[in-house]
Amino acid sequence: MISRLFQIPEGFIVNLGALLNALPGAVAQGLIWGIMSIGVYITYKVLDLADLTVDGSMATGGAVCVMLMLNGCNVWLALLCAVIAGMLAGLLTGIFHTQFGIPPILAGILTQLSLYSLNLAIMDFKANQGINVTKYQLIVSQRNVRTFDLSNPIVITLLFLAVLIGILYWFFGTETGCSLRATGANEAMSRAQGINTKKTKILGLMISNGIVALSSAMLAHYQGFVDVNMGRGAIVIGLAAVIISEVLFGKLFRNFALKLLAVAIGAVLYFIVIQIVLWLGLNTNLLKLLSALIVAVFLGIPFWKANLTGKHPHKGGQPHA
């Protein structure tokens, strides 16, 4: 059984060069999922809501963008429509939660379920739709990941990230943004101060899922296809990125914009871990187990360090965004 675990392909020299060569791809994927993780951060950390809609909206954005482009739409307009579609998904969850009184996790699950059928309908009931990189003007493509010019998906995604973080930084400084933060910090107190928490929750969910849909559209371009099951397990990746960023950079970055950047870095680290697991040549059937174990070790290190040195991470009073 041990020999089956370590099926290092015969002949391939396990060299560091191959890993370094594979890193640009991992970084590009990580940055695209980093955008999605920022969306998860907004609901999970700022709004303090566990939002499972992302498993559905992670496919909706791509579906809308690809189907519009296949029908001749301009790529930027298609991206904008993808974001709007994501926001509508968030609106649905918000309505389930605030108007129907359904707990947030369940509301997210209900939306995610409905989005499966809706995504299928958007894709004309075909589960998988390819988009040809040579025929359409795609924003990012996995083919360019090693080129040193502006078409490199890493560069383009970094630009998107910068603009997104800038907009979010500005927004959460406005009065509406602050009311959103207040709702997440202490809902009862916010209501007492006259903030309509139902509206802010809906707004937060809409923004978050709009961002996730943007990431989904970019992922569809990057991969060259949209699949109705694209979003499956997305919440796991998003939360992993958020928690990795908090564990690693929580004490370093206090500024909100830097925290969002840290979330993107967390996603990149997650994908680098997966790339390393693949590079090690272990039995690929164990890929998910090994990735989970490595991330668990990652997250355990600060905890063990604190236990060893006797300094415990401060309990209670978790700093709110």
Binding site: G11, I13, Q142, G224
Partner: protein
């Protein structure tokens, strides 16, 4: 401390440079990406590897990766192959093929277990070859012959249920085509779709309530939960015509079987032509399964009282 660290980093970097320069011998490196573990895809991969091992012996090295059903992992695997500089990529199933095309325009890609390349790759004006760095084999079994077989075994059946997973484009394609043939024969067809293996039992029950015979195409999800389907159709006494042998063994009565092993083997022969013969992948026509056999599942036929005519072989 800082000095030691910088010396270590310098050493690691020079090691990397050395490893870049190291010769890798004259062996061909082939990367195989399989979408998910199940019998048919495993057989195709095995056939592919056997064909190349027979022809090239030790001069071929495989890097076999399995995406465990996760389409996003296909991109990561393809990234790995491209960065390792493989000579050829074999993509087993549609999402793997699409991920391969997205990641490289130069490395030759051979697909297998893909039903329709034109829809998978969004190619209009289909000529039989892709015109890009992709070729391969298609597992499209002759659907008109399958419809004829259904009619031969159940001439009185008029209500046909078409059961498949909505997340599989290949299934939808086959169902659309066979629907045409069945309706020409005077049958009414109803589609029953399930989203994943969790709702297969309830949708199958629905299908049994509304049909006299059920048809399941070459659906990966159905093939991985044949027991669940059998547990529904057997008590309901509804016969199932399956799109391939694995499905038939699990829950079907009869099938027009292509051998996925032979399909993989044919792909291996194409790979040999590309690697050594310098064949141009862009103009290689997509090949189909070499032969089809009519097969039946003796146990289920006896249980459901289906009489099998001449010309069928029993599945062991």
């Amino acid at each position: 401390m800082k000095k030691v660290l910088s010396v270590l980093v310098a050493m690691v970097l020079t090691l990397c440079l050395c490893s870049f320069a190291s010769a890798e011998g004259a062996a061909y490196h082939v990367g195989i990406c399989q979408l998910v573990q199940h019998v048919a895809l495993d057989a195709a991969t095995q056939g592919f590897q056997d064909a190349l091992k027979e022809k090239l012996g030790d001069a071929i090295v495989f890097d076999l990766q399995n995406a465990s059903g996760d389409t996003n992992t296909c991109s990561t695997i393809m990234n790995n192959f491209v960065s390792n500089g493989v000579n050829l990529i074999m993509a087993n199933a549609t999402p793997a093929l699409q991920a391969a095309v997205a990641s490289t325009g130069d490395i030759p890609i051979l697909g297998t277990s893909v039903t329709d390349y034109a829809t998978a790759l969004d190619i209009s004006d289909w000529t039989g070859a892709t015109g890009i760095n992709v070729s391969g084999t298609s597992d499209l079994a002759p659907l008109d012959q399958q419809a004829a077989m259904l009619h031969e075994l159940f001439p009185d059946a008029t209500k046909i249920g078409l059961l498949y997973c909505s997340a599989e484009p290949n299934s939808k394609y086959q169902v659309d085509v066979i629907r045409g043939y069945l309706e020409d024969m005077g049958c009414t067809c109803t589609e029953y779709t399930f989203a994943d293996s969790n709702d297969v039992a309830s949708v199958a029950q629905n299908a049994c309530d509304g049909s006299e015979v059920i048809y399941i195409p070459t659906d990966n999800t159905a093939a991985s939960c044949t027991e669940a389907i059998r547990n529904v159709v057997e008590p309901a006494k509804i016969p199932v015509i399956a799109g391939e042998e694995g499905l038939c063994k699990g829950c079907g009565v009869a099938t027009l079987s292509i051998s996925y092993y032979d399909l993989g083997y044919a792909t291996g022969e194409m790979a040999y032509e590309v690697l050594t013969g310098g064949a141009d992948v862009a103009s290689m026509a997509i090949r189909f399964a070499p032969n089809v056999t009519k097969e039946y599942n003796k146990e289920l036929c006896d249980l459901l009282g289906v009489v099998i005519p001449e010309g069928y072989t029993a599945i062991e």
